[in-house]
């Protein structure tokens, strides 16, 4: 399969993205493995975190030496921020460190589940939108919160499938479907994917994209899993657009009876 079977770009805040699979860059063995996995995934959006540089090792390499910001859209996140103040501070630092106003906003509510603090998320999003940020919020699978995030000006909403890194897959497909029906900006299912079928399912439900990190980086063979995810997202998207047959309780013959002996 060469590149993408359809010209079916994802458009967010006037920016066009080719791939509907977005990937994180954490948890890889080294930068080279990160680079190869991202390449295999076909993703053009990659998420990164913002942290203090290592000033003791002057020869330490930078992630951006491996992931060319001219080739990929770098999407900084505010992972690890548990307060509105921290999330806003890290967003501003991310903008200063990078080249764009894009931020994947996370306000984490609890260390064990890493569930979002949705009240804090809304507050931080309002502040950042007023400062000109393009806020892509990581949120719970709550249709009302997703609606509110859209209403305050988020150009996409990123509900979780399951807790970050859990690999549980889509725990609440009905809520996600409601979000996809009611929220009129792109929906990017973020976090909780375990394997290719989870990603395909999210796309079949009508997600506009899927973002994942651990499912690829934590696989025995991350590069092979990145390839699997690429196909899964494509397959799910195509199946969604093609329109599945309705489920029926009884069989429907697919071979004609006519002409039988």
């Amino acid at each position: 399969m060469s590149n993408y079977p359809l010209h079916d770009p994802l458009i967010i805040a006037g920016r066009e993205f080719r791939s509907r699979l977005w990937v994180g860059t954490g948890k890889y063995k080294n930068f080279e493995e990160t680079r190869l996995a991202i390449e295999a995934s076909g993703a053009d959006v990659v998420t990164v975190a913002v942290r203090r540089v290592n000033i003791t090792d002057k020869n330490s390499e930078n992630l951006l030496d491996y992931i060319d910001p001219k080739k990929y859209t770098i999407l900084p996140n505010t992972a690890g921020c548990y307060t509105v103040e921290d999330a806003v501070r890290y967003s501003r630092l991310a903008r200063a460190a990078g080249v764009s106003d894009l931020v994947k906003l996370e306000v984490i509510g609890d260390e064990r589940t890493l569930f979002p603090d949705t009240a804090g998320l809304l507050e931080a999003a309002k502040i950042l939108i007023a400062e000109g940020f393009i806020v892509l919020p990581y949120t719970n699978d709550d249709p009302i919160v997703a609606q509110k995030l859209m209403d305050i000006g988020c150009p996409a909403v990123m509900p979780l499938a399951a807790p970050i890194g859990s690999g549980l897959g889509i725990r609440n497909p009905y809520n996600l479907k409601i979000i996809m029906e009611t929220v009129k900006v792109p929906i990017i299912v973020d976090a909780g994917v375990g394997t290719a079928s989870d990603a395909a399912l999210a796309m079949e439900y009508g997600a506009d994209a899927v973002l994942m990190n651990t499912a690829i980086a934590g696989a025995k063979d991350p590069i092979m899993m990145a390839t699997a995810m690429r196909y899964a997202v494509d397959a799910g998207r195509l199946a969604f657009k093609a329109g599945r047959i309705p489920r029926k309780l009884y069989a429907t013959a697919s071979s004609p009876i006519e002409g039988m002996l």
């Binding site: 990937v23 954490g26 975190a49 942290r51 000033i55 630092l93 990078g98």
Partner: protein
């Protein structure tokens, strides 16, 4: 002059611009964000910004991430 860089006390000669500090640390201007005493500097000010005695400098960059590292944040919460 003593300044704190990423939590570490360092001694430098004056004057010291942000650009000079980054060069000394072998860091590329276009890959970092610099905060001095909680104020984020614009990259265009790095060459002219003179650091002062006691300044708290934070130099940050993008690292691999997708998921937060539990326990990283000072403000973390845990519901039992």
């Amino acid at each position: 002059m003593k300044i704190i860089v990423n939590g570490e006390e360092q001694t430098h000669n004056v004057p010291l611009t942000v650009t000079a500090l980054l060069q000394e640390l072998n860091l590329r201007t276009e890959q970092v964000a610099v905060e001095v005493n909680l104020k984020i500097l614009d990259r265009s000010n790095f060459p002219t910004w003179n650091l002062q005695e006691g300044d708290k400098v934070e130099i940050l960059s993008f690292i691999g991430g997708g998921s937060p590292q539990p326990g990283h944040s000072r403000g973390r919460k845990r519901y039992e």
